[in-house]
């Protein structure tokens, strides 16, 4: 082979490449071409369509692919039937009877029955060999009895009146007729099922192209009627700037933005900004197990020292509401704001610190028994709201004589530190998204599995236990109002804001339900796309 023989090959390659690139430019007509009525939203990684494990991409896709026994009413966030038509509670408050819809079919055409419910709860959620990520919410279930094809009885160990709410929270029902024969190992890694997942949701599996997208198409025999959209596409777009570019060019119909992006998105004429309601709150947590946070006066002082209103106005751009406690106002029946408020009052904060024995030293730093009041505030990297909050809170604390520092680390690393026992952190700022429930036992009861605050208080424990066992709605409401008053005074964490989820939504999307998109995705059948 000499040079002359090799040349044509190389030249051909160059020409082919040039051709490809030119074809690209020439064929560059309409970028935003979308076939039919397809709703497109981003996910940050490949979704695993297996609702037993968590992760936001999975959660979002599973919302439309599968169904739950109940879902939440967009108006009052109360549980309403999804796969279940109605339910009743026995007099001993231990046995729930759920009557199921009769016209439900799986995406392969097989009928949905009570056996699917029994299988999902007993063989998947409660199976110790399969780790279900929401098990904490339903762990009180002891067994499920099939009464007939369309009736199940769910029995709990102790009275657990929040069960219907929990059965709407990330608890998708899976098909017994496919998975019933799986071994425990297959149930942990259902590779074959994931290639062709079968659900009962309004959209069935279309295709999944790794790294690119998941496409779900309307299921004609959906029990709630065929969706008006033809398809939902979840595009894998990890980069926020790329998401914004695709929103701008119309390739994405929805993305969730942070306050700093609001002005940019408001300049896009075809996009509207929606403040969507979500059951959540943001907080600055104290490690209640260690000094000085074991002292209520210190916790109250550090709360009074922070201008939360300014944080809401300047950092959240007003998109949210000042938090008064761990129960979100969307849980209307239980929420009360008639609790101890913590207005910004640095003078009071200083007074409380002095009462707690922390006196200012010559350098302005407070000391007690020679020990300086030194507090590190941990925050995860990358979220502008939380990072700014941490920096601002540090300054407020410094103003009252605290030697405060901010430490920024990767979310992954931060959460593992919070979860290590004993928790080595002093204070940190994060958020919680919770079921639309007043039952906060998991977070603040001394035995709560999610109680990362190290908070233990026998009085609150007793209230929370009562609340869980009380069926009468008015009595329950009174119990949780008392719990909120108690917590507001005791200040186990600084409750910051109930933030809105800021959705950037293409104006051609109509009938979108203004809930946080996790829940809006359970109300997709009426959504349409205009021209």
């Amino acid at each position: 082979m000499d040079g002359r023989n090799r040349r044509p090959g190389r030249r051909a390659a160059v020409i082919a490449l040039a051709g490809l690139l030119l074809a690209g430019i020439a064929g560059a007509a309409p970028v935003a071409a979308q076939g039919g009525a397809t709703f497109t939203l981003p996910i940050i990684d490949n979704a695993r369509m297996w609702p037993i494990v968590g992760g936001l991409p999975n959660i979002l896709v599973n919302k439309v692919l599968y169904s739950t026994l109940v879902k939440y009413d967009p108006n009052n966030w109360q549980p309403v039937g999804d796969l279940a038509e109605r339910w009743t509670l026995s007099d001993d408050r231990l046995t729930w009877t759920f009557v199921l819809r009769r016209n439900v079919t799986w995406h392969d055409g097989r009928p949905f029955t009570a056996r699917d419910v029994k299988f999902t709860i007993e063989r998947l959620w409660l199976n110790p060999q399969v780790a279900f990520f929401q098990r904490g919410n339903i762990a009180e279930i002891s067994r499920v009895d099939v009464v007939d094809d369309h009736t199940v009885r769910i029995v709990t160990r102790v009275p657990f009146v929040t069960l219907p709410v929990m059965l709407g929270y990330l608890t998708n029902i899976l098909p017994e007729h496919i998975l019933g024969a799986y071994t425990a190992e297959q149930l942990r890694n259902p590779v074959e099922f994931l290639r062709q997942p079968i659900g009962t949701g309004p959209f069935r599996f279309g295709e999944s192209v790794l790294g690119s997208h998941v496409r779900l198409v309307a299921y004609d025999r959906y029990f709630g009627g065929r969706p008006r959209l033809d398809a939902i596409v979840f595009r894998v777009v990890a980069d926020l700037e790329q998401q914004l570019a695709q929103l701008q060019t119309g390739q994405l119909d929805l993305m969730i933005i942070e306050p700093p992006q609001v002005p940019l998105v408001q300049r896009m004429p075809h996009v509207q900004v929606v403040n969507a309601a979500q059951v959540n709150y943001t907080f600055v947590a104290f490690n209640n197990k260690i000094e000085p946070f074991t002292d209520r006066k210190v916790r109250q002082a550090l709360t009074h020292a922070v201008d939360r209103k300014a944080i809401l106005d300047k950092i959240y751009l007003g998109r949210g509401r000042l938090a008064t406690g761990p129960i979100n106002p969307l849980v209307q029946w239980a929420y009360t704001d008639r609790v101890h408020q913590f207005p910004y009052d640095p003078a009071l904060a200083q007074k409380l610190l002095e009462e707690a024995g922390w006196q200012r030293g010559p350098d302005g730093i407070r000391r007690k028994g020679g020990q300086p009041l030194r507090i590190t505030l941990d925050v995860d990297r990358g979220n502008p709201v939380r990072e700014q909050t941490a920096v601002v809170v540090r300054q407020y604390w410094r103003d009252v004589g605290v030697d405060a520092e901010v430490r920024i680390s990767e979310f992954n690393a931060l959460l593992s530190r919070i979860r290590s026992r004993p928790n080595p952190l002093q204070t940190w700022t994060l958020w919680y998204i919770t079921p639309p429930e007043a039952d906060i036992m998991g977070y603040y009861h001394s035995t709560g599995t999610l109680n990362e605050f190290g908070y233990e208080n026998p009085e609150l424990d007793r209230l929370l236990e009562q609340g869980r066992a009380t069926a009468d709605p008015q009595a329950r409401a009174r119990i949780y109002q008392q719990a909120q008053r108690f917590m507001a005074w005791d200040a186990p964490v600084i409750f910051l804001v109930y933030p809105a989820e800021i959705q950037a939504l293409n104006r051609r999307v109509q009938h979108w339900v203004p809930m946080g998109y996790r829940d809006a995705l359970t109300h997709m059948t009426g959504v349409t796309i205009g021209r």
């Binding site: 074809a23 071409a33 570019a245």
Partner: protein
């Protein structure tokens, strides 16, 4: 030659083993755990149970031994996040990355070699200075910013090209569609290499142009073009082959930033996500495949030398 080859292959196997041990030890020491354990509503019991199921409660060497046994059996494990076999995921990402990086490589060579040779022939002229300036610009420009600027210009302002992805979803998936999605990332990825290749081509061609045989060729009365390309450039090629060879691993490893900025479904963006999510089987699989290709490509480059330069022989 055969003995040389088998010795190199043995060395490669040993190298892969060392790389895998080091990477395994490093990623398991990284703070934080797999992202599937990071759900805010996951209690301590469930985390413990999932760690047991994933085998993360075992000592490091036991976990490594189990992984190695799997790999020797031809199984790279199952991705924590996608829930699919790692081999399958890499198998789908690798061709996408090859398309992008080959396009970028060819693009950069097609521009860099003529530019390099031309500047070598007329060094220190205005033309040379202009190309040199462009080269420095190309090397220095931050990829994510450059990518974003191209997106703003060509996708948002002009509306000519899509900002990201590989195909129009629900579209025809033909070559024209691929080409439209390929232009911007290929240009971004090719720019830095273009600059490097042009500089190397220029300097090695200039060195060769000072050789005696080039003077001989000129004194024979050969046309300047023939002198440049048939005599000087062919001898300058050995440097270029080395430099291009060093870039080969990138063809497979993917360009993490470019792929992420353009949402290109390739190995680079896959590796970034896997690292953030502590998807151990995925990280290990990518590492193994990429280092195998690195080792293979250096071997190929060494063999190509024999062809390019008859003086080099392996015994």
């Amino acid at each position: 030659m055969l003995r040389y080859l088998s010795r190199r292959l043995l060395q490669t196997a040993a190298l892969l083993l060392v790389v895998s041990v080091v990477v395994f030890a490093l990623i398991l020491q990284a703070p934080g755990g797999p992202s599937i354990l990071l759900d805010r509503n996951l209690g301590a019991d469930e985390i413990a149970r999932m760690r047991t199921i994933l085998g993360l409660d075992q000592p490091l060497h036991v976990q490594y031994a189990r992984w190695l046994r799997q790999v020797l059996g031809g199984n790279l494990g199952v991705s924590y996040t996608a829930g699919l076999p790692v081999r399958e995921i890499i198998g789908q990402m690798l061709p996408n990355t090859l398309v992008l990086s080959l396009a970028a490589l060819l693009l950069s060579l097609a521009a860099a070699i003529p530019a390099g040779v031309a500047t070598a022939a007329r060094p220190y002229t205005t033309f040379d200075h202009a190309v040199t300036f462009l080269c420095f610009f190309g090397v220095s420009i931050p990829v994510f910013w450059y990518g974003l600027m191209l997106i703003v210009l060509f996708s948002i302002v002009l509306g000519w090209l899509p900002p990201g992805g590989m195909y129009t979803i629900g579209g025809p998936r033909d070559l024209a569609d691929l080409g439209r999605h390929l232009v911007l990332p290929a240009v971004v990825l090719g720019t830095a290499n273009m600059a490097i290749f042009a500089r190397y081509t220029r300097s090695s061609t200039m060195a060769v142009l000072r050789e005696d045989y080039v003077r001989t060729a000129r004194s024979k009365g050969l046309r300047e073009r023939a002198v440049l390309y048939r005599h000087a450039f062919r001898n300058a090629l050995i440097t270029i082959v080395t430099v291009v060879g060093l870039q080969l691993p990138r063809l497979v490893g993917g360009a993490a930033i470019t792929e992420t900025v353009f949402a290109w479904p390739g190995m680079g963006s896959l590796a970034v996500r896997a690292a953030f999510e502590r998807d151990y089987p995925m990280i290990m699989g990518i590492t193994l495949v990429v280092s195998a290709v690195v080792a293979a490509s250096t071997l190929v480059v060494d063999l190509v030398y024999v062809y390019v330069d008859p003086r080099i022989r392996y015994e």
